[in-house]
Amino acid sequence: MYASIHTPDFPSSHAAVLDCASAFSPRLEDTADNTVVLDLDGLERLFGSTTVIAEQLKRQLLNLGFTANIAIAANPDAAVCASRGFTGITIIETSTEARRLKDLPVHLLPDAEAEPEALDTLRRWGIHTFGDLARLPVKSLSSRLGQYGVRLHRLARGCAMRPLKPHMPSLHFEESVDLDDAIVLLEPLTFVINRLTDTLFHRLQFRGLAALEMHLQLKRERPHEPFSLSLRLPMPAQNPRIVARLFALELDAHPPEAPVIGIRLEATPSKPRVIQNGLFVPLYPEPEKLELTLARIAAIVGRGNIGSPELHDTHARGRFLMTRMKYWKNLKAPVTPEQNAQTTIALRLLRPAAEATVRLQNGIPVWMAFGLAHGPITTASGPWTSSGDWWNSQSWTRQEWDVELRSAVLRIYQNMATGRWYAEGIYD
């Protein structure tokens, strides 16, 4: 016999229903989002009659907060149909299936959703119930709907027999520990994390997997919100030592700031990366080790100050972004410097630009002074104007000049919004 549990109003709690069902029988099928089927064979000796099993199931689910329809029949599909069509507990005796199911609407047929066309055909034919369908001559049905029609006919008569599709729990890699005494120092915390990481990586290894992401959650005494850290690794990692070390560095830079009373570590699994190195290709550093080195540097200089600089695609001067290093790919900056800027002289930029005092005559700079030089301007070339970001708060507009002092040739500019002058660089 088979029992079908149908929870029409609680599809989001399906996992809990599966857990509940698995407490009764290991042979169960995850039939649909709101339907679970159990094989009751042999359970009578453990739990009692099918009626008792059905009632116990219902009670257990009620304890979890769900109301469910439970139907028991000699085959899984008849049980499923009955649980979808009748409320409460329904027990269908063998050989009475066709009679019991005949008034159910055809849209409750188990495969109806997969074959909407067949359902449409039945609707057009005026076939509304299991009984209507069961009355059709099976041979004629077969010549119109093929084997699928024959199956529908069997389902409608409640005599379709099939094996269950066993439910396999999904792969989930998580290790956690609740601590009796709160940890206040980083070293013992790192020790526990190391142990969890080892276990987790062993589990991954058993299944031939590696970790692509690692999520650490620390339960704190106060504040109650957990403290979370995530590592997005450049490639699937298999070495627990390096991951643990990365966590240690992260925690060093960002401590949890409270005593820790629980640790949960979760890994997102991925297939390990296998590389065939070329004989004449220069070897790159091992990615995991490089990641560790970068993490060490980041811990010293700050996370925002490490990576690959990329020019910002804008007319605004000096804007760039720090992006994550792509050390195992061919480096190709998405934004290239202006082409044809084949200037023969170099400009040494002053970072940051030095504020300057500039005197103008007929709108042309004639004298200037700043930290490194001052004096009359002998030649001024400009203005070179630019502006942008007018649609946001970073709007800017400036006027540049190339000026020659007795001692140097400079690039200066005026911020048109503030009126202030700056020396931006010195030409070689």
Partner: protein, 1047 residues
């Protein structure tokens, strides 16, 4: 003057310029520049408007274009037309580029053109860049090569080395190279600013356009955006200062401008000459055709007719328009020869020559229409003849005839410039500013509301309601940009029917482009530009009703054996007028709308001129001008006829003292305010422009002063001004109304006397008109027509007529089967012609094109029931068989042609409700009983009155009506009132919903297919409405066709 701008692009460079040509000219005029050149990308799209605006401000408008060169890494070459030949070459070059190969040898087109070396995208800059800008030898070498190449093509005197200065280092480095190259090759320098907008602030719009063009947001566009805002029109002083080191570059702008002798004033357009035999001139030929026509049309051909025709002919000869009339006549003759129905509309109907040539169908002499409205010497404007043709293939045949007659480069359609309007503007700007999808949706829904408003409290409130704070800088910027790009051109479309033809090559007058429809070309100017350039246009417009009339006449010929000539329909047929007076006008041209129907019983038309008034009176102009009720009251003799002033009696006499037509308003202005014909014309043109409030105010002032001078003051003056100004948007010319009234009468006459043919024809030309096919079928059935269902043994692809014991009936065509492809439908009909089908399996076997889903639909609507005439089956039986027949048995058994027989199907017969649902789902209609008939008993119990019984209920009583909602209207002129038409099995009942009742019942009204309405009946002058007080959705277990909603 020191400087003239010779390189300016307008918004007609499509997303490469941010100002309209008029704005460029306005700023140019403000700066005191005597001339300017418009150089748009790959076209002269904006040149007509530029020229027109320049003419008004006495600025010389030079013509040019930026030509996109092939194979030069996208270099664009600015070309200026020095002479008419140069302009001709420019147009041909651009046409060639658009129509055929992009790689063109420029040499044959070079004569008369002056070439600038271009700005940042010019071939010289590109070449220098290729070689390296800074101090590179290669750059100079490449640049010199490019300049020499241009000299080779255009000649040394026709190449100017162009310098632009936008305060950019790289540009300046290139300039230094360019100066050196110019000096070494002895080429003159010329300064330009590469203008892309009139004012500096418009740089933001250009940036937005750049983003739209490149599918980026402002945040991601990076260096695609402008570096600075320097590409605006600059004053001569500013330009002189910028080029103070190169004064010759500034001086040369003036020198070059003086060389550019060509303007669009000298376009050289000639309407094509009509070929006539030796010894004949076009006018003598025209006179002969007119004389022949007049003798046919006027019997007797009186002195009055002769005089009018002679007057018109002499004016036509004087204005040398005989070729134009002959060419239009030629198109009309082509249509007649090919049995294509054609009728002129618009002001051409004021001309007796057009009438006798068969171009129009209204006798202007008989109707005393004003010829000057069509053609007047004083106005100096070209006449406009619009021809209505049956929409679809027939119209395309006429269009293709024009192409064939004048060559693919001698004729073209006029363009239609698609501009940014509220919704498109907000969507594009929103995207560019990076708004997310939900915000974009909400903002574009708001678009319509701000379109004609200034930023004000109302606007802030509207935005606030949708959750946007107008004070927030991003929203404010969004609004500013939306306003900024309003009315700027987005792309070029094709006008629905405007065609222009030319003597010789049209592509030497204006560039042509291929249209999206194969076999068509489009000119780069729209119809207003063509009119401004004095290019005569013939509108070949598609009219659904013309196609209906044409099909009706053919069906009458085939099934009644009668030949109906629309020109000779019995005039004033009282049976027809009786039907019209009852407002029983579903399907009739122009008089079928809800508003028309409510007016007809009051109007009580009984002769043709009444229809002319009827067509014109239900228009926003007369409605807004509050002229409808006075006219109807006077017509019903409930109010005496009076005139604003006795002077106006001759003008307003035939419309009972109420001005209804545009011609009357022109005459009123002429008589009352002393306007000349030209001024009256200007007044008419001002009516045509939306939001021309300033112009309207000026005209009002002139009207009032004119009337003061004529002693018309006080309320009479106010009344006249009100009449005239209320026509601001939608004046309707009398001649146009007369042409439409003819079609209205013809459709009414044919519907009355040949209902079957008319119904089949109108069903075959859907979608059109006011009502859905389901309503048209029900209306025809109520008038006693038998409409037979779709049947594969009888139906053709279109609806057809059948003659049997029941008389002539309509057989629904296969075209109404949803999901049945035309190829499969016509294959079915062809196979049937080869021999009748014996069974469903036979049908499936012989018509391979039929897919299973199509067979299923045919079975479901009962179209397969009669395959075996001796033993008709039912729909379910057919469905049972189809399911088997569509599973092919394989070639061995198929070839035997033997059907595998089975006993009867085990399925039940469909109930009437199921049949109804199947009909509506699969054909959008039913030829069986109306859905309301099935619930009539229930409705009776609720006290619901049938539509047909409403006429017997006295005014003011509370009634209940119910039916299927066939139309919902919320016209802009009705101040929030909603009009509903509810159809039941007996007819159509009308309900009026006041704004407050609408707000309370909005969801029910908008979403219900079947409605129950309770309210007080208004039954006055046989016009019946129910003023809804309570409304409810009713559950009729049948689907209904979706209502047609008009807002």
């Amino acid at each position: 003057m020191k400087y003239i701008e010779l390189h300016a692009a307008s918004a007609f460079s499509f997303l490469r310029g941010a100002s309209n040509p008029e704005n460029l000219i306005a700023v140019c005029h403000d700066f005191g520049m005597p001339a300017m050149a418009l150089v748009d990308r790959d076209g002269v799209y904006g040149s007509a408007r530029f020229h027109h605006a320049a003419k008004k401000t006495k600025v010389t408008a030079h013509v040019g274009a930026e030509y996109s060169m092939a194979g030069e890494s996208g270099a664009v070459l600015p070309l200026l037309a020095e002479t008419r030949e140069g302009y001709r070459n420019l147009c041909r070059l651009i046409t060639q580029m658009h129509m055929e190969a992009p790689a063109i040898d420029l040499t044959p087109y070079a004569k008369g053109l002056v070439c600038l070396t271009g700005g940042g995208h010019g071939p010289l800059t590109q070449a220098i860049r290729r070689g390296g800008i800074y101090g590179g030898h290669e750059g100079m070498k490449e640049g010199r090569k490019a300049a020499e190449h241009l000299v080779q093509i255009f000649g040394r005197d026709h190449v100017y080395v162009e310098l632009q200065r936008h305060f950019d280092r790289e540009e300046e480095a290139i300039n230094q190279c360019a100066v050196e190259i110019a000096r070494s090759l002895h080429l003159p320098l010329v300064a330009t600013n590469g203008v892309q907008y009139a004012q500096p602030s418009e740089r933001e719009i250009l940036d937005v356009f750049t983003c739209i063009r490149n599918h980026r947001t402002l945040d991601t566009a990076g260096r695609l955006l402008a570096r600075n805002a320097e590409r605006h029109l600059k004053t001569p002083d500013e330009m002189t200062r910028i080029f103070s080191d190169l004064p010759e570059a500034i001086a040369n702008t003036v020198e070059l401008s003086s060389r550019l002798q060509f303007t669009l004033e000298d376009l050289g357009y000639q309407f094509p000459r009509y070929p006539v035999d030796d010894g004949e001139t076009m006018i003598s030929f025209l006179r002969k055709r007119v004389d022949e026509g007049a003798r046919r049309a006027y019997r007797p051909y009186t002195e009055k007719h002769r005089k009018q025709i002679a007057r018109e002919l002499s004016l036509i000869e004087k204005l040398a328009l005989e070729g134009y009339f002959l060419i239009v006549w030629d198109i009309v003759e082509f249509c007649r020869r090919n049995h294509i129905l054609v009728q002129g509309r618009g002001s051409a109907a004021n001309s007796a020559v057009c009438y006798v040539l068969g171009i129009t169908a209204v006798d202007p002499i008989g109707m005393d229409l004003l010829f000057e409205r069509f053609l007047s010497e004083e106005r100096g404007e070209w006449p406009d003849i619009d021809l209505d043709l049956p929409s679809g293939d027939q119209r395309e045949r006429a269009i293709q005839y024009v192409y064939q007659r004048y060559g693919s480069r001698g004729a073209a359609m006029t363009a239609n410039v698609i501009t940014y309007r509220g919704r498109s503007a907000s969507r594009e700007v929103g995207k560019v500013l990076g708004f997310d999808a939900p915000d974009l949706d909400r903002l574009s829904k708001l678009a319509g509301r701000w379109e004609y408003q200034d930023a004000s409290d109302t606007l802030a409130a509207t935005f606030a309601q949708s959750g946007f704070d107008i004070a927030q800088p991003r929203i404010r910027k969004f609004l500013d940009l939306c306003m900024g790009i309003q009315d700027l051109p987005r792309h070029l479309g094709q006008h629905s029917g405007g065609m222009i033809v030319c003597q010789g090559q049209l592509d030497s007058v204006v560039p042509l482009e291929p249209a999206t429809m194969p076999g068509r070309t489009v000119v780069q100017w729209d119809k207003d530009d063509c009119a401004d350039m004095k290019i005569i246009k013939v509108d070949l417009l598609g009219l659904g009703m013309m196609a209906v009339l044409e099909d009706t006449i053919q069906l009458i010929h085939d099934h009644h054996g009668e030949d109906v000539d629309l020109a000779h329909l019995p005039q004033d047929d009282q049976e027809t007028y009786k039907v019209i007076r009852k407002a029983d006008t579903v399907g009739m041209f122009q008089i079928e709308s809800r508003a028309q129907m409510s007016c007809l019983p009051r109007m009580q038309p009984d002769h043709f001129y009444d229809l002319v008034v009827q067509v014109a009176i239900i228009r926003p102009g007369p409605i807004v001008g509050k002229m409808v009720h006075p006219y109807l009251k006077r017509r019903q003799k409930r109010e005496g006829v009076s005139y604003p002033h006795s002077m106006l009696q001759p003008v307003l006499e035939r419309t009972l003292g109420v001005p209804l037509f545009q011609e009357q308003l022109l005459r009123m202005a002429m008589i009352a305010a002393g306007f000349s014909g030209g001024e009256a014309e200007e007044l008419r043109r001002a009516f045509g422009f939306k939001r021309a409030e300033r112009r309207m105010k000026e005209i009002e002032t002139r009207l009032r002063s004119g009337m003061n001078a004529n002693g018309i003051v006080g309320s009479a003056q106010d009344e006249i001004v009100h009449s005239i100004t209320s026509f601001a948007l939608y004046g309707f010319p009398e001649s146009h109304a007369a042409s439409f009234a003819l079609l209205a009468y013809a459709s009414a006459y044919l519907k009355c006397h040949y209902l079957a043919a008319f119904t089949a024809a109108i069903l075959n030309n859907q979608p059109m008109g006011f009502y859905s096919p389901a309503t048209l079928v029900k209306d025809a059935q109520r008038h006693g027509l038998k409409v037979r269902p779709i049947d594969v043994t009888r139906s053709d692809w279109p609806c057809t007529l059948e003659s049997d014991d029941a008389g002539i009936t309509v057989r629904m065509g296969l075209c109404y089967v949803r999901g049945l492809r035309k190829a499969a439908g016509t294959a079915l009909v062809e196979a049937r012609h080869a021999g009748p089908f014996t069974s469903i399996e036979d049908l499936a076997r012989r018509v391979r094109e039929l897919q299973k889903s199509e067979l299923v639909v045919l079975a479901e609507i009962g179209a397969l029931n009669f395959l075996d005439a001796s033993d008709p089956t039912h729909r379910r039986d057919a469905l049972w068989q189809v399911e088997r027949a569509s599973r092919r048995t394989g070639p061995l058994l198929e070839e035997s042609g033997v059907d595998e027989r089975e006993g009867d199907s085990p399925l039940d017969v469909m109930t009437s409700e199921e049949r109804l649902i199947a009909d509506f789902n699969n054909t959008g209609m039913t030829v069986g009983p109306h859905p309301m008939a099935y619930c009539r008993d229930a409705m009776k119990q609720r006290g619901v009155v049938r539509a047909a019984d409403l006429a017997g209920i006295p005014n003011g009583r509370i009634v209940r009506i119910a039916g299927c909602v066939i139309t919902r209207q919320r016209p802009g002129t009705a101040k929030g009132f909603v009009f509903l038409s509810l159809e039941d099995e007996t007819g159509i009942a009308n309900a009026i919903v006041t704004p407050d009742v609408f707000e309370k019942n909005r969801t029910v009204i908008v979403q219900s297919q079947f409605l129950f309405v309770e309210g007080r009946i208004q039954n006055i002058d046989n016009v019946i409405h129910v003023k809804a007080a309570r409304m409810q959705q009713i559950a009729v277990p049948h689907p209904a066709p979706p209502a047609r909603n008009f807002h």
